[in-house]
Amino acid sequence: MSDRGKTAKAAKAEPAKRNSIPLKLRVPEPPARPGQAADFSHIKLPAAGVTRRPDVASQPAEMHDLAYGLVRVLNEKGEAVGPWAPKIDADLMRRGLRIMMMTRAYDDRMYKAQRQGKTSFYMKSTGEEAVPTAAGLALDDTDMLFPAYRQQALLFARNWPMLDMMNQIYSNAHDRLKGRQLPVMYSSKEAGFFTISGNLATQFSQAVGWAMASAIMGDTRICATWIGDGSTAEGDFHHACTFAAVYKAPVILNIVNNQWAISSFQGIAGGTEAPFAARGVGYGLPALRVDGNDFLAVYAATQWAIERARSNQGATLIEHFTYRMEGHSTSDDPTRYRAADERQKWPGGDPIERLKQHLIKLGEWDETRHTAQQEEMEKLVKDTQRQAEAIGTLQAGQKPSPKTMFEDIYGGEPDWRMRKQRQQFGI
């Protein structure tokens, strides 16, 4: 012991040779801030069609390159090219276009409704519509969804009534959630759409549990879940990947990398060190990185992951590379932290425009029909809004009954304290 003590002291005597340079902390910064020109020169988008499509039976270890590549189908000319081009008919693509346009029109209207004081809060999904729309159409309607808060298009993809969604935004008497939840935190068991949490990332590992249950029970339904680039930093993301890999859970783990987590660029979540998809590599999960503004690429990648899940080959991690065109929410002001011209310079384009051009190229769509559909969507949203407002908004009209406030805390009959508090409240 005494000898070892001497050795330790002797080693301590000369620390200067070992490390004489002062250590420095690196804090990542985005390429541009307000007042500067947006700079996306670091983003290298591979040409559409160049990324290989492995067989769905491939082992995760054989496809590490896909976590660093980018699946793209639609090229600059509006053509669908390469091995990932899904063989889907024009009707399905038109449906996708319609849902994306519906989502954007809905978002615009609800955002304005918040600005008019008719509700407290809203979050748009502008620019990211292809991610939930294509996935929603690729999955079966009986598959389970564990969304984050920017996948409202999933509900449209499942033909969920817009009026029902607006009633939730307004917390009015017909809100199925009885006015309890912040606007956009939808929930519908009937639609297979899990109740959205205001706490980030929690759904990601829950989705894995649902998928494990489906496997335990010998069910045929699979599950899909979504998380933002920022929330991959939460522990829940890592729990999800571990469980999904260990148990080969039939689940699709979607990371929506829209570049921004409120004011923090994706580098704060580690996105400049390695693509988010690459996190799957360490867990032994097959991981795809996909152009999230390319409806066909998202559809094809989801279809590939669905096939794996349905054939007991387990989970897939998909990073959707996209861009949040608007602020985080109505409480946010992106002009304070990012370059003003980012939206114009985003190299991934607009998902609606890209699918539209493709359909036109195929001779399955034209400008006249597009304009007519745009007008139709605006009218649909406006008419539905009128119906919703006839029921009530957060500020006026019919509200849920206040006594519902005390319901659903527990199942069964209210206990002593709840009975007493209800009496005090006057019911």
């Binding site: 910064e29 006015g179 939840q181 939460e234 979540a269 406030m405």
Partner: protein, 337 residues
């Protein structure tokens, strides 16, 4: 002295602390370039550089754990959890780690961290942006729990918290950020300008932890409260005309028991008001202490007015919020007892 709202006072506390001590480091979600979603850290990165005020990944457990590590090194991390409702992923690091490091290391290692977090309702935040979790932290020995009710107290208490060697949960009543709020949902926006506690010294001062503030002297009953409820209780006292002694606890751990007992022994009545849910809320602890220590001086049962035992419902913000009407009714009932 400068007229400040609570955000500005908290920001001023940061500047004061960071200028005085290079070991004070600030981080959290959106706190760097943007300056925080409530603007509490605005300008700090520009003034002190990116290694003293920076954005953190969205990982509350990671934020608290990293702060503990920095504290163990000898720094004084002052971190932000964006909403108190988001703090739960960090519970393990707070309860099993920050709170126990001094004890389990025989006093050798410390976790001198301060965790700022906006809490409470009144902004239509729904159940994930409105909670009042103070009792959870008060239950954890080793943590201190501090709750200001004015800009002056916010700055002085925050400086005292950061300069304290123990971990502090610093709960900021977000409804009070821009002005005192008496709890009438229909009231227009009132600013801190003109309020005596909106006058804040520019430099260093502390409001000591564990020293309650008698914000209104009175003889009819003692009202124990903190945060937003201080202003609600003052309004209820004024509206009912009952001569209440309103005690702003300022910190619930450590608790200024002397001030509480002196007041209740004088008035013989005790009403406790908090926004958090009733059951196992901090009011239960206060009631237990008061009944044990003041039993023979009490002229009426101790009563509590609190949020209902439900999650904070979005549309029923004002039905849930314990406003001056409910507090005033309890005051009247107590005087009839």
């Amino acid at each position: 002295m400068t007229t400040m709202n609570m955000i500005q006072a908290i920001n001023s506390a940061h500047v004061t602390l960071m200028e005085k001590d290079p070991k004070v480091v600030v981080f959290g979600e959106d706190v760097g370039y943007f300056g925080g979603v409530f603007r509490a850290t605005e300008g700090l990165q520009q003034k002190f550089g990116v290694t003293r005020c920076f954005d953190a990944p969205i990982a509350e457990a990671g934020i608290v754990a990293a702060a503990i590590g920095m504290g163990v090194y000898g720094m004084r991390p002052l971190i932000e959890i964006q909403f108190a409702d988001y703090i739960y992923p960090a519970m393990d690091q707070l309860t099993s780690e920050a709170a126990r490091i001094r004890y389990r290391s025989g006093g050798e290692f410390l976790a001198p961290i301060t965790v700022r977090t906006p809490y409470g309702g009144g902004i239509f935040g729904g159940q994930t942006h409105s909670q009042s979790p103070e009792a959870l932290f008060a239950h954890v020995v080793g943590l201190k729990v501090v709750i200001p009710s004015t800009p002056y107290d916010a700055k002085g208490l925050l400086i005292a918290s950061v300069e304290d060697d123990d971990p502090v949960i610093f709960l900021e009543p977000k409804r009070l950020y821009t002005g005192p709020f008496e709890g009438h949902s229909t009231d227009g926006v009132k600013t801190w300008a003109g309020h005596p506690a909106g006058e804040v010294p520019d430099g260093h001062y502390i409001v000591p932890l564990g020293k309650a503030n008698v914000v209104r002297e009175g003889s009819a009953m003692t009202v124990l409260c903190y945060g937003t409820m201080v202003h609600v209780c003052l309004a209820a006292a004024r509206e009912t005309g009952i001569d209440c002694e309103v005690v702003d606890l300022r910190s619930i751990t450590p608790l200024d028991v002397d001030t509480i007992l002196t007041s209740v022994n004088k008035t013989g009545r005790c009403l406790i008001v908090h926004e958090a849910t009733l059951t196992a809320g901090f009011g239960a602890e206060l009631a237990a202490i008061v009944q044990q220590e003041c039993f023979y001086n009490l002229e009426a049962p101790i009563d509590r007015v609190t949020g209902w035992d439900t999650p904070y419902p979005h549309v029923f913000e004002w039905e849930y919020f314990p406003g001056p009407a409910r507090v005033g009714a309890a005051m009247k009932k107590m005087m009839e007892a």
